[in-house]
Subunit: 248 residues, 2 copies
């Protein structure tokens, strides 16, 4: 049973709209289903120590000198010369256990950094893979909450919007909302929840994977529920695993 | 039977996102259901000669000297000293027949002006009140099409999003789309089409009307289908009624 917190919840469909909202002092949940925040959950399940979200591939490379693994993706493709790209399968490799990772992606890491710059009090990372642990954590927040979809190059996308709706579905009785976007994502999720994968395969990003003949398995993987029940939260400049002991 | 034009259609949820899209050379349909584009349709049905969208109330007032009627709304309220605000009922007054109107609103007139500044080849104005005439016109466009929701102060809103979905529902087989937002609005509309008014009454703007104890009848009025079968399009700086003779 989740607590009723009398806090406000809002949904923001793309980072381009985040400056329209009051972010300072709020809890922000960053959502990049295909694939940054899904991969981050997998990484922590595998046992990664911490993840440093960085803005550019050049900045990411710097951290090789400090014994970080470096992961970089742009336009759905792993950049050459990096240890990893952005596929969740890469983050299942047991060799990454206890390592630190510097990570840059087209949308997800940008959304995390922007939330921090705008003064978010707490930042967590969400995906279908950690939805229940995340939901419980959100329901116990003492701040108002923003669900921030990372989208695709500042445009809204289908899979992040649907996940925001999935969270709204679980949290709608625990929060107040006066946010049309929250109502829209809730309705969208409720009407499509029985065929999420079919719907997401129509999305522009799934079509992008298809055109690249890459990452098509990632779509199915990233829609699984609770297969990586971890709680990545920002602590200073790093994402760390704050999974409560009861879940581990 | 609508033609299949092999053109692209996209949906943009707020004017804040429009600069991310290529607008130049495209046809833009501006949507502000509550209430600017609904009121414009009513005005042309009543027999208004032309409407000049302007940015500010101060600019709007200037046109009194040129025998324009001046309509100005901000934050859902008619501004003092103007002939009209933004309620469709005001534009049913037969005294406005053959007159010119200068019109400024919180969201709708801004979206029209922005579309023009970004180089749209054609701009039309849409609402449930003219949906069928509008749909036929869109289906005959030789440009790619953008459905632009005016939203509320650069945030997305429910009623404009639903209307974009209603247009997608009618046009989905006539256009190509690689736009997640178009898919989302289509699904949202299809899942809610049997209770549009119930859903829209949950929206932040309907709640705003309720708090103001104003304009609550406007919600029902603006969700009627084809009661003002006109076609307001931009010609130079003015909206004029381009309703085809077959409809009149």
């Amino acid at each position: 049973m989740l607590p009723i917190v009398n806090k406000e919840i809002e949904v923001v469909l793309t980072p381009a709209l985040l400056p329209l909202y009051q972010v300072k002092g709020k809890t922000v949940v960053v959502i990049d289903i295909l694939r940054a925040t899904s991969s981050m959950c997998v990484a922590f399940k595998t046992g990664v120590n911490k993840i440093l979200p960085v803005s550019t591939p050049e900045e990411c490379s710097l951290f090789k000198d400090f014994d970080f693994l470096c992961a970089a993706e742009r336009n759905a493709i792993k950049l050459p010369g990096f240890d990893m790209g952005n596929s969740p399968f890469e983050f299942q490799n047991p060799l990454i256990k206890d390592r630190n990772i510097a990570f840059t992606t087209t949308n997800g890491t940008k959304a995390i950094k922007q939330s921090k710059e705008l003064g978010a009090a707490q930042i967590a990372v969400g995906s279908f893979l950690n939805i229940d642990v995340l939901t419980t954590w959100i329901a116990h927040q003492t701040n108002d909450v923003i669900l921030l979809c990372a989208g695709w190059k500042d445009k809204a996308n289908l899979e992040d919007t649907l996940f925001a709706g999935a969270l709204m579905d679980k949290l709608q009785n625990n929060f107040d909302t006066n946010c049309d976007t929250a109502l829209m994502t809730l309705q969208l999720y409720q009407s499509m929840q029985h065929d999420l994968e079919g719907f997401v395969r129509k999305s522009s990003h799934a079509q992008r994977f298809k055109a690249l003949r890459a990452a098509e398995d990632d779509v199915h993987f990233c829609l699984q529920l609770n297969t990586a029940p971890v709680l990545p939260v920002m602590q200073g400049e790093y994402l760390v695993n704050a999974t409560p002991v009861s879940v581990v």
